[in-house]
């Protein structure tokens, strides 16, 4: 068997072993989660509220709304009087058939956008919602351009060799030491 073939075969064996180890890990993970078997219920305590599903719906909604009398808490978590009242109000609105959006509009009409923890997409929040993507793209773009330019500069510098670049020599020396000590990290 010639070198490339043997290399490929060894490589395949290597990858196979890694895959096996990894599959074992996945199996263990699955076994652990399977160990969590379905529950058994005896005399089940009633969930709070007339309609538990509606209650959960209300709490889900309340988790995205801000308690106005608190330092920084959701309507779902807070025990402030206004939070209790507003949760009740939301319960009633949902019972009347209002949608999530309508409930939010109800609160925004009275308290402004401040009450929403998910800022609405408006002209004054465009920067907020698109900012991160813009920053990322600009950053990656800048990185790309800088790397390209850097390569060009290094290439032109090589054709004009620098005299006694002491720091570069020292770095090279340290790097060689590194390789000696076996550190690829």
């Amino acid at each position: 068997m010639d070198e490339p073939m043997r290399g490929a075969r060894l490589h395949g064996l290597r990858a196979c072993r890694a895959a096996r180890i990894f599959a074992a890990f996945a199996l263990i993970l699955a076994a652990l989660t399977f160990g969590a078997v379905a529950p058994v219920s005896a005399r089940e305590a009633p969930e709070v509220g007339e309609d538990p599903a509606a209650e959960r719906h209300m709490m889900q909604l309340a988790a995205e709304l801000r308690c106005l009398q608190c330092q920084n808490q959701t309507l779902a978590d807070s025990n402030a009087p206004l939070a209790v009242d507003l949760r009740q109000q939301i319960r009633e609105l949902l019972a009347k058939g209002e949608s999530d959006e309508q409930v939010k509009q109800y609160l925004v009409a009275r308290y402004g956008d401040f009450v929403l923890y998910r800022p609405p997409l408006k002209s004054n929040t465009l920067l907020l919602w698109f900012g991160p993507a813009v920053v990322l793209l600009v950053g990656l773009g800048a990185l790309y351009l800088t790397l390209k330019r850097r390569l060009a500069r290094l290439d032109s510098a090589q054709s004009n060799p620098q005299v006694a670049d002491a720091e570069s020599a020292r770095a090279q020396h340290l790097l060689e030491k590194e390789v000696e000590e076996g550190g690829l990290s």
Partner: protein
């Protein structure tokens, strides 16, 4: 790349920092928990409540149309309300502008007793036991005061106690303009 741009590049972090610092400086005098009212320049919400003094009497939004008036949310359990109350009592004495109280999440007994003790500047107080009308007006921290014009549109909201300075500098001039 032009030499100017090259050196400017390195100044960018500094510029960004100064911009942030500017906002932070401004922020020192802002209150992050003060919520401006979305009701300004919008019609006051509909309401219909019993009067605190007389359960048989009902007041609703229509009753207040045609005049400029103040709505003051208060409660017997509210400590800051005691602070502003003398200012309101004085104002009620010296001015023709009616002040209507909104007794927020209180009991009749406590409310009446409080008024007896500290004075009653209100033409009447609306008895909002459940706090629903309060919610409709966007009340979140008593005392709060609204200035409503002849067409029933909210023109100004004060969160926190009314001070004499506030009366002179903001509320009275606005009342004059609205009455003109």
């Amino acid at each position: 790349m032009s030499p100017l741009f090259k050196s400017l590049r390195f100044l960018l972090p500094l510029f960004i920092f100064f911009a942030i610092a500017g906002f932070l400086l401004k922020g020192l005098w802002l209150d992050p928990r003060e919520i401006p009212s979305p009701l300004i320049d919008k019609p006051a919400p509909e309401f219909r409540l019993q009067s605190l003094e007389d359960p048989a009497r009902q007041i609703d939004r229509k009753d207040m149309l045609g005049k400029v008036w103040l709505l003051n949310a208060w409660a017997s359990w509210c400590v800051a309300c005691r602070e502003e109350h003398p200012v309101l009592v004085e104002f009620a004495r010296s001015s023709a502008i009616p002040i209507v109280g909104l007794n927020y999440k209180d009991t009749r007994v406590d409310g009446m007793r409080w008024l007896a003790q500290f004075g009653n500047p209100y033409v009447t107080s609306l008895f909002d036991e459940a706090g629903r009308v309060g919610i409709d007006f966007g009340v979140y921290a008593v005392p709060e005061t609204f200035l409503i014009d002849k067409q029933g549109v909210v023109r100004f909201k004060q969160i926190g106690p009314v001070t004499p300075e506030l009366l002179h500098e903001k509320i009275l001039p606005l009342i004059q303009r609205l009455n003109a």
